[in-house]
Symmetry: C2
Subunit: 371 residues, 2 copies
Amino acid sequence: MVKRLGKVTSEYIRELSESIPLFVLVLGTTDTSLIPGITVAGASPELTHYTPAADAEYLVNGKCDVIPVPPMTPDGKPTPALISRACVKMLDIPVITVVSGARVKPRAVPYVDLCGEPGRDIRTGQALSRDVVKRIIANSEKLGRELARLSRFLVIGESIPAGTTTAMSTMVALGYNAWGRVSSASPSNPVELKKSVVREALRRADLLERPTGDAIEAVSRVGDPVIPAVAGVAAGALRSGSRVLLAGGTQMCAVVAVFKHMYGEPDPDRLAIGTTRWIVEDKSADMVGLLSEIWPNFALLSSEFNLGESRFEGLRAYEQGFVKEGVGMGGLLCVTELRGVPRSVILETVEKLYEKELLEPSKALGLTSSA
Amino acid sequence: MVKRLGKVTSEYIRELSESIPLFVLVLGTTDTSLIPGITVAGASPELTHYTPAADAEYLVNGKCDVIPVPPMTPDGKPTPALISRACVKMLDIPVITVVSGARVKPRAVPYVDLCGEPGRDIRTGQALSRDVVKRIIANSEKLGRELARLSRFLVIGESIPAGTTTAMSTMVALGYNAWGRVSSASPSNPVELKKSVVREALRRADLLERPTGDAIEAVSRVGDPVIPAVAGVAAGALRSGSRVLLAGGTQMCAVVAVFKHMYGEPDPDRLAIGTTRWIVEDKSADMVGLLSEIWPNFALLSSEFNLGESRFEGLRAYEQGFVKEGVGMGGLLCVTELRGVPRSVILETVEKLYEKELLEPSKALGLTSSA
């Protein structure tokens, strides 16, 4: 079941249910992910730089080339790319991988390069140069325009470790109260750490006391390369007549904020966010409140898919607050459910892929004790 | 008018006339282009490395970022990207730029990166490592599969200076008599220089006396990154049910040779080459004879478009054997003519773009004396 939160129009839902969308996965890195404890999207801070490329390779190929192990924690909690992969396989959705700016790029999937750069630690107060942000936006708008001619519906997802922290700082820089309202891939959201990093970043950028209305300034000071890339692809596609679903959690609130400041308030008949129940119900965050502050007529869809009945402990962990969102999982689940695929079939497909592509190779490497 | 040479089926023509194709432009470089005199696609040998990126930027944006001048010779002979741009604009054809392996990549257009590498001078006998060729093929097949889900018809063009020389060596390495049968962007084809470079390359690769049946070996020894990329995208798209037009001259004969050795003889109802009259009638080459040796049931289309009546000297130069092909010009002209656009309208569009985007900026920079 897909829940409509906010003003998602029937026309939007009808088109999303009927068209074969194109899934655009935008990858990026920010050195903010190297801060110990800020993210769990990687076995160590350094390895977080490999996560986006590994996600893209797993999504498309069912295995990773940039890391030598299956993309899950040693105790069997899988990447959200598992569920995204199940969805794109079930519906035969084409995937285009996009690199907005990343320290590690995929090796085993072709990707669109936006000629951006990896994001620096936002505590420098200069995450990206203004020129790089402008280039990312110009190239992503062009890409969105071309892709819109190929598909009437774009679903845009993201993979960037520490992306909720850079989302918080970007939104605060633009004048929104995002303090402590962004989600996390961990059941224990390191809210205080994120706040202190964001405070330090904003202070250094001189944006703490006086927010800016300039989205390029906000992103270049305290953002990351993924936010402008997603906003730009969406803007280009909308301008060319397609509809867009932003597939992600609180990071997509930052995308909407940037979008609004650059292109005006989005039309809920043409642009919506699709996420998971795990994000919407996350008590350590406040996606609905945050979004409604940024976008009064916001259009938000939430997939009610749950993994509580899974026969695998690693999948049931999602119900305890692990992972929650990423790699377009929530939006792709919305699309799959709207197309009428029964929840039992989704679960079965996810479990099959989990067993065959993650558990078995992991056991063969002697990595997973139980699952 | 479009001439059918060889067995192009009516079904193929019908679908090409009716569908909106996707244009895929594959860029690459080979250090073979640094050999003085081997190519005219660049103001100096070193600058040939900028030509593919400049072509892509001009095609999409109408201006270049990687070079500070408009993409034409000082005396006003324009890049074939001018005519390709006129075609994609007239028919509103979406463009996807792909980098197979290049020393200079575009800055102002998003591009798909196949994670290949620039080609070394073929006289080393090791143009690319086998692993790189395999990676290019694997990634381009995946890209072709995804793109085929977005469009029923792919038109694939190329831009790689010295590409006819690496095409010659690749075909000879595979056992075909390509000696002196490839074309050139110059009215005085440096046939003897090309032959001596190819001979040296094949001798070093130990393929001069005993050709190989292994296409990966031929490409990695004496080829370039564009040839396997075009073959791979075509193979992936065909496998997913789309039709493909290889838009190019004698370089596409090398693509067909590699395709045949890797995937079997192509079906003329699904794959054809589209080129220009300037290539087919080039007396310094022999595209039809060469192609029929490689592919007995070959499907070849040739655009009869001519520039003899142009009011610009720089465009009339095409009738004296300058440029001839590149950036998908021939195939895109075939598509445009088959769609019923009158030749006068094509000429007018080309001339308008030439004047506005090449001549005027060039004069403003004090570069062009006359045209």
